[in-house]
Symmetry: C2
Subunit: 224 residues, 2 copies
């Protein structure tokens, strides 16, 4: 793997924070404890006062880093999508055969998340838990269109387009590459959600089943 790709970092739209939390120890603690708390109690019960207390600081300090709770959530989700995009690029860039590359891509995107030691203060497993359980909340506010204009969802959109490109590489004639891509990425989260809360609505309980289901679905759908 070349150095360029090995050294890539997750970069997040600065509009999502007032002061970059990555730039200080305190900021990193906010992110790190924020992930832990939200994955445990959910966003509605989470608030900046509790986070401040938890990190031995207080509410007003958190507000100096993040404008509000919703942006904090979008920040965390962006981090997740950015991290996933990085992994996607790392896992697929060396594969030249389009079909094989697509399979690896889907594998990366739909597998249950395992701990990644590259980022000390971020627990990717808890973060995945958040995205599965709260992922659509930042989207499903009335401000979504403004936030989209502000570029807060760029990483997510880029990820969808990356997968769509790989789909097109296998079958350029398939007319719904982007819809299929967004269906897979969103659908993967949804199936994890069902597995946890509505097990009767999914068969994907095992570790490899998610990947099998989606690879089979995509492969058959775009088959010429």
């Amino acid at each position: 793997m070349d150095a360029l790709i090995r050294n890539m970092e997750v970069s997040i739209n600065p509009g999502l924070y007032l002061k970059d939390p990555q730039s200080t120890r305190l900021g990193k603690r906010m992110v790190s404890y924020g992930i832990a708390m939200i994955s445990e109690m959910g966003v509605e019960k989470f608030n900046f006062r509790k986070l401040g207390e938890e990190i031995g600081s207080n509410e007003s300090s958190v507000y100096r880093y993040f404008e509000n709770k919703n942006k904090f959530l979008i920040y965390l989700c962006s981090w997740y999508w950015g991290w996933l995009e990085l992994r996607l690029v790392q896992e697929t860039h060396a594969i030249s055969d389009p079909s094989s590359r697509l399979e690896h891509a889907i594998d990366t995107l739909t597998q249950p998340v395992v701990p990644d030691s590259s980022y000390e203060h971020i627990d990717e497993v808890a973060l995945h838990q958040i995205v599965v359980n709260e992922y659509s909340k930042p989207f499903l506010t009335r401000e979504v269109d403004q936030q989209n204009r502000d570029g807060y969802f760029e990483i997510y959109k880029r990820l969808v387009h990356r997968l769509a490109d790989m789909i097109r590489a296998v079958n350029p004639g398939y007319p719904y590459a982007v819809s299929l891509s967004s269906s897979v990425i969103e659908g993967s989260l949804h199936q994890f959600f069902l597995e946890q809360h509505f097990p009767s609505l999914t068969e994907l309980e095992g570790v490899r089943n998610h990947t099998r289901f989606f690879i089979h679905l995509v492969t058959n759908t775009i088959r010429k």
Copy 2:
């Protein structure tokens, strides 16, 4: 169509309301105006005080019908899913060929909603709008597991299983019928959402494209 099927009604878990809104004029107004208001302003800006005022009544009266806003939203969504289930049954019960039945089912489930005059005080188009934009909010609260135990999502689950049965009827050997079914039902909403807010993430702008996309996807996926 036989009388039994023509006369079916949407029935909703009584745990979702304190007093059946269908039983009084005032209750129907709550539902009817509630749909209009939420589809316009979104759930977060909507509240029972505003609804009370809008129907020329007041907050406390609404609270006599519905315990809280979240249950009200689940009530409305249940109505939508129940209505869709009815339409699904009506549209497919007479079709004996499994493949053709499945196609009609997907068509019914993924088509843009058009007005249905059978229910005077309910605007199905606005309701679809709500489900598309807020659908996961009732799910994505921490109480989802308790609410599931209370049976609040039975209609939705039944709908998923109905479609899964039709998938199995076409190919009994396909092992992920339920996951595929839930993916289609959820995915259809998601694609409508993308069309409205993230058009770059979907190709399904036309009227027939949703149906084409999902029928093609399901047919190819379960093809032997």
